[in-house]
Amino acid sequence: MNCDHVHKVLDAYLDGELDEATDAQLAQHLASCPGCADLLAERKELRAAIRQLPRHAAPASLRRSILRELGTVDPAFAAKRPRAVAWWQAGVLAGIAASLAFALGLWAAAPREVDLREQVIARHVASLAKPERLVTVASLDRHVVKPWFAGKLDFAPPVRDLSEHGFTLVGGRVDELAGTNAAAIVYRIRKHDITLFVSRAGDLKNAPEVATTLRGFSLVTWRSGGLEFAAISDVEPRELQRFCDLLRAPDP
């Protein structure tokens, strides 16, 4: 890789947006080229300085004023959208969907999965709303988080240190999913929280990953080693996938 090419992608390198191969090539070039390394150092300095600038947070009065106005928004407005489906149409559609699902033998699986995903979203969102109460072990060290679960759960959820990949371990708590105890382990990347739910699987067979998005959230679920895993976040699907791949990679 020559200097001209490095200059073209240096910003993407700084921003952690390059694919692994290019990223490695660039790192190699930077190690041996003082000129490009200086340029990167200047970029980093500029970034650090911008991050010292005051962030214009929303004034409390604005927040109150918005909440007040939301109370006056006619909830029926949302239902008047042209794309909205009337309740009776929804009922008919649900009926058709149900009979189709039944015909395909999906009746047992589909509704429960949807239900579980809803619960995963609800528990994740609840913890975002009250982080101080719900993250019971606020710790950046997996050697603190992992033993903390001992004695509280009848399984040992895996806890990994992924900080070198940008995922900081925030902590863990005991939560509940579908009526059973679950470990909720919270990681953070670029101000986004990822909650990983781990619970005992009813089925000992491993199940492959299923990635979905639901109302703006990314979800990945899988089953392995008698444990059920569900990762959720508002990061992009690609980023959550990277997180799950790292989590499932064999210990170095």
Partner: protein, 181 residues
């Protein structure tokens, strides 16, 4: 279809990003009162269309609505005769003078005394560079999110960030902002 949990969901997925929204609006509009008005309107609009949420993340979706509202406001202001162009004589230079100019000319070497100068330089940057820098450096959005907020391809996000950073570094080094060696 009155759904009390809808509002709760809106608060926990969208309004958690209110600080980010206000920060973007303030940097794009460079006006406190306008930023508050625009964010208020954009929040209510987002609430109405919450069920149609699209885009890579809820934050990006909300920021896109806020940015759109900012551009609408700037368009109206321009029609009223208020220029969007930044008045160096009024803002920038005064702040630069106040920030002093005693830095070493060899490098950018941005220390706390230079923060005010940087603030002025960033405010004076053309809007298309200013907004991507705020989204990336302060709000830590990914290229994909910025692409969705600003409505430009990911490659353009990268080149805009590069040019924005170049221009900002140049302004920080510009004659008159520091002593000549």
């Amino acid at each position: 279809m009155d759904d009390p949990s809808r509002r709760e969901r809106f608060e926990t997925t969208i309004l958690v990003h209110l600080d980010a929204a206000h920060n973007l609006a303030r940097w794009v509009l460079r006006d406190d009162a306008a930023a508050e008005d625009v964010v208020q309107d954009a929040s209510v609009r987002a609430f109405r269309f919450f069920d149609d949420m699209l885009g890579p993340t809820p934050k990006a979706w909300f920021m896109a609505i806020v940015r759109r509202a900012c551009l609408d406001w700037l368009g109206r202001a321009r029609r009223r005769g208020i220029e969007e162009s930044y008045d160096d004589a009024k803002h920038g230079v005064a702040v630069l003078d106040a920030a002093g100019a005693a830095e070493s000319p060899e490098s950018l070497a941005i220390r706390s005394a230079d923060i005010r100068q940087l603030h002025a330089c960033l405010e004076a940057l053309p809007r298309e560079f200013r907004e991507v820098l705020i989204l990336r450096e302060m709000e830590e959005l990914s290229y994909r999110e910025i692409s969705a907020v600003v409505g430009i391809p990911i490659g353009t996000v990268m080149s805009r960030l590069a040019r924005g950073r170049d221009q900002l570094a140049q302004r920080m080094r510009a004659p008159g902002t520091r002593k000549k060696s």
